[in-house]
């Protein structure tokens, strides 16, 4: 029974991947929040023993394949923000949700920056405002994501 409850973690990541490739009109694409990073930040903050660096690495490789990016690109970004998160989650848990949103915003910007850096090394040109547009929306949806995922965790009785 206990094993079964952890399925909700995998399910949440699958839903995140679906949101990540959901077709959006052209102008809205740069405002798409990084759902996978949000879900990963939540689980690694709530259950750091179960969702850690290795999960981030595997999920990153899946996202790379899904988006047709360089293999390892999103994996690197997700591993790094999970690393930061694992070092700070005890302090972040105690903050108010507005302060948490700002923290999440900075993590999302770091992850976006790493991904764009790799793109830059490969010689692709990137619209520079996109470094902030996605994370900004991500920051705004963080409280929603947080409350939904917390409810899911409590319903599934994972402690």
């Amino acid at each position: 029974m206990r094993k079964l409850n952890y399925l909700v973690i995998y399910l949440s990541f699958i839903v995140g991947m679906m949101l990540l490739i959901l077709p959006l009109p052209g102008w809205a694409k740069i405002y798409r929040p990084d759902w996978i990073a949000l879900i990963l930040i939540y689980w690694s903050m709530a259950l750091p023993k179960y969702v850690g660096l290795f999960t981030a690495f595997i999920i990153g490789l899946l996202v790379d394949s899904l988006l047709g990016a360089l293999l390892g690109q999103h994996a690197l970004a997700l591993v790094l923000i999970t690393y930061i998160n694992l070092n700070t989650y005890l302090r972040i848990r105690a903050l108010s949700w507005i302060q948490q949103s700002l923290y999440v915003f900075s993590l999302l910007v770091i992850s976006r920056f790493i991904i764009f850096w790799m793109d830059g090394i490969m010689g692709l040109t990137i619209p520079i405002q996109a470094i902030f547009s996605g994370p900004l929306i991500g920051m705004l949806v963080w409280p929603c994501a947080f409350f939904i995922l917390r409810d899911i965790r409590r319903k599934a009785m994972i402690n």
């Binding site: 959901l22 899946l62 790799m118």
Partner: protein, 278 residues
């Protein structure tokens, strides 16, 4: 407190290890194609996710088909039959010309193939990396698709296959900033390379000499150089020519013929071995 500190140190070592693995993977993936098999397996695992996302669109099309009225179908049928007759009439002449052309080419000893086999594929409605121009189709290696095959729609060249798995494949469009296609002007025969610039409305042709015979409205076709794209498929129409006198080159913007943003069905061209009989 010491326990927490211990845990943090273990985390640092693991993070460093994973980061170096990531960098290694990226390097190998960028330079070589050893990881194509890993990628195709991962993408096979994720196929249900892709299908789930494109389900509403596929379902919508299906419902549309189901509720098409009888009269619309009859009209369509009549129109298509008439069109089929006209095309068949043109094809008769075409076959004679093609046979003649093949005979002449054989006499000249030129080994250029004139017919290509095609596979019809449908787009999966999923978004890829927003800063790239990639699309996903519902045919994969089990249908005979291979990396490097050219993709066309009813109007012109769309792109080429870059990643495959058993049941789906990823297409890079000619408008991707990382893509270039060898082209030739039909009217003057000038050869060039058309670069994508991330915009589906135009391709760029750089560093053409100011003396080159180019006009707005010229048609561009694939030149067949480079060996990736078969020759003589329509690519684009010249939309504007900017004459930069300072460096002695002109750069040309050309509008792609294919409907890069809106085609739902595409053809994958299988270029087989040279067959003199065709």
């Amino acid at each position: 407190m010491t326990q927490l500190y211990q845990q943090a140190r273990g985390v640092t070592i693991r993070a460093l290890l994973l980061v170096s693995i990531c960098i290694g993977i990226m390097f190998v993936d960028h330079r070589y194609n050893h990881l194509e098999i890993v990628r195709s397996n991962i993408s096979l695992v994720l196929l249900p996710v892709r299908y789930l996302v494109s389900l509403p669109v596929l379902g919508g099309n299906w419902v549309n088909d189901w509720f098409t009225s009888h009269t619309t179908l009859l009209e369509d049928n009549e129109f298509l039959q008439a069109r089929g007759r006209i095309l068949n009439g043109q094809l008769q002449r075409m076959q004679i010309l093609q046979a003649e052309n093949t005979r002449l080419r054989n006499l000249l000893g030129s080994s250029r193939k004139l017919t290509d086999k095609v596979i019809v594929a449908e787009l999966l409605s999923v978004d890829q990396n927003p800063y790239r121009q990639l699309i996903e189709i519902n045919k994969g290696s089990s249908d005979g698709i291979e990396i490097g095959q050219a993709i066309i729609d009813d109007f012109g060249v769309m792109g080429q296959v870059i990643h495959i798995n058993r049941f789906s494949s990823t297409i890079i469009l000619i408008s991707d900033p990382d893509h270039a296609i060898p082209v030739q002007f039909i009217r003057s025969g000038v050869r060039s390379v058309a670069f994508g610039n991330g915009n589906t409305d135009h391709l760029e042709l750089r560093f053409l000499p100011t003396t080159a015979d180019i006009q707005v409205g010229d048609e561009l076709v694939t030149s067949g150089l480079g060996g990736r794209f078969p020759a003589d498929y329509p690519v684009a129409t010249v939309a504007s020519i900017s004459d930069d006198l300072t460096d002695g080159f002109v750069s040309v913007l050309a509008a792609p013929k294919a409907r890069l943003g809106s085609s739902r069905e595409v053809l994958v061209i299988k270029v087989g071995d040279f067959d003199a009989g065709n």
